[in-house]
């Protein structure tokens, strides 16, 4: 009996759960925040993700991974969805799935790319485009916990129109230092010429880290590779660099 109960618990932890879309907010022209309610949601750590499963009328199923954009909040979860042109799933989730409709989610998933409120070292977060989603969950958890660990976010976007979570990233919290790097078009008055993240962009935030400080890098694969190489070239211990790649 005890064994059966334990197996039952383990099974529940990985089960697909019904999730209802209750709120959709635009982040950019092509990015959306989706809030879903998931009965029985066990909670999660900032940085974790879920798998979302859609089932068509003919039974065809598609599964995609999406990062959780906010810390645990009872049975509500928030996902960040970037529309992929000609994508099979993301345009539907971003714009077509009606409010009140159900999908299935599996999670929380992944214990590696997470930040825990007990961590005390200064932290560097490096985001490329939609890679900001799991890092936003860390930023919000950091604020909610009133953590004294200094957070530095270096956020690479092509243009000012592509910034997600504007309100969360610019609230004057002295323990959160946010720098935006524009790769194509910077806002008027910017002193930095548009361009990809370069060693000069990383020097100041890495100088404030401790040798064991974690660096979280999330974005498209090429971005993650480039930033990872810059960091190791600057002498960061590769074991302190945690990465999450999007395709």
């Amino acid at each position: 009996m005890a064994r059966a109960a334990q197996l039952g618990r383990l099974t529940v932890a990985i089960a697909w759960r019904r999730a209802r879309l209750v709120e959709r907010r635009p982040q950019t022209a092509t990015a959306r925040s989706l809030v879903l309610t998931v009965p029985g949601w066990p909670g999660h750590l900032p940085g974790q993700h879920v798998d979302v499963r859609l089932t068509a009328d003919d039974g065809y199923q598609a599964v995609r991974s999406y990062s959780l954009a906010a810390p645990a909040d009872a049975d509500r979860i928030e996902l960040g969805v970037q529309t992929v042109p000609d994508g099979e799933v993301s345009p539907y989730l971003a714009d077509d799935l009606p409010l009140g409709a159900d999908v299935e989610v599996r999670g929380p998933l992944g214990n590696w790319f997470v930040w825990r409120t007990e961590q005390t070292e200064p932290v560097l977060l490096v985001a490329g485009g939609s890679g900001v989603v799991p890092l936003a969950a860390m930023v919000r958890a950091h604020r909610r916990a009133q953590s004294r660990s200094p957070f530095h976010l270096l956020y690479s976007v092509r243009t000012p129109d592509e910034i997600w979570y504007r309100d969360h990233l610019a609230d004057g919290d002295p323990r959160l230092d946010v720098r935006i790097v524009y790769t194509r078009q910077a806002p008027p008055g910017s002193t930095r010429a548009p361009g990809r993240i370069a060693p000069a962009d990383l020097e100041e935030p890495t100088a404030r880290l401790e040798p064991t400080s974690p660096v979280y890098v999330c974005g498209p694969t090429g971005f993650v590779e480039a930033v990872g190489n810059l960091l190791t070239d600057m002498g960061r211990d590769p074991a302190t660099i945690r990465t999450e790649r999007f395709g």
């Binding site: 383990l10 798998d51 599964v63 992944g110 214990n111 590696w112 790319f113 999450e244 790649r245 395709g247």
Partner: protein, 90 residues
């Protein structure tokens, strides 16, 4: 097959492996038998797309594991050989 810049990382194996493992897999430590590099499963380079995923050593591209979904089964191959475990998931 994804190209050299198109791989994902071992974080994306968390969901598929949760169907056959009861322990969270992405923090599992792994050592490459080819180049002796070590690190977490999350750091492996994963090539897809589903239903077939191949996780390779980030240093030397040695195959760490392959995961293939086929209907109600998941096939798991550890290392680069041809022997495989077949798990029933439904």
């Amino acid at each position: 097959m994804a190209d050299a810049t198109g791989h994902l990382d071992g974080n994306c194996l968390a969901g598929p492996l949760s169907e056959i493992l009861s322990v969270e897999p992405t923090t599992a430590w792994w050592r490459c038998p080819e180049c002796a590099r070590s690190g977490p499963l999350a750091g492996l380079h994963v090539y897809g797309p589903e239903p077939g995923l191949t996780a390779r050593c980030p240093g030397c591209a040695y195959i760490a594991l392959r995961l293939v979904r086929e209907g109600e089964h998941i096939w798991l191959t550890v290392g680069g050989g041809t022997g495989a475990f077949r798990f029933r998931t439904a």
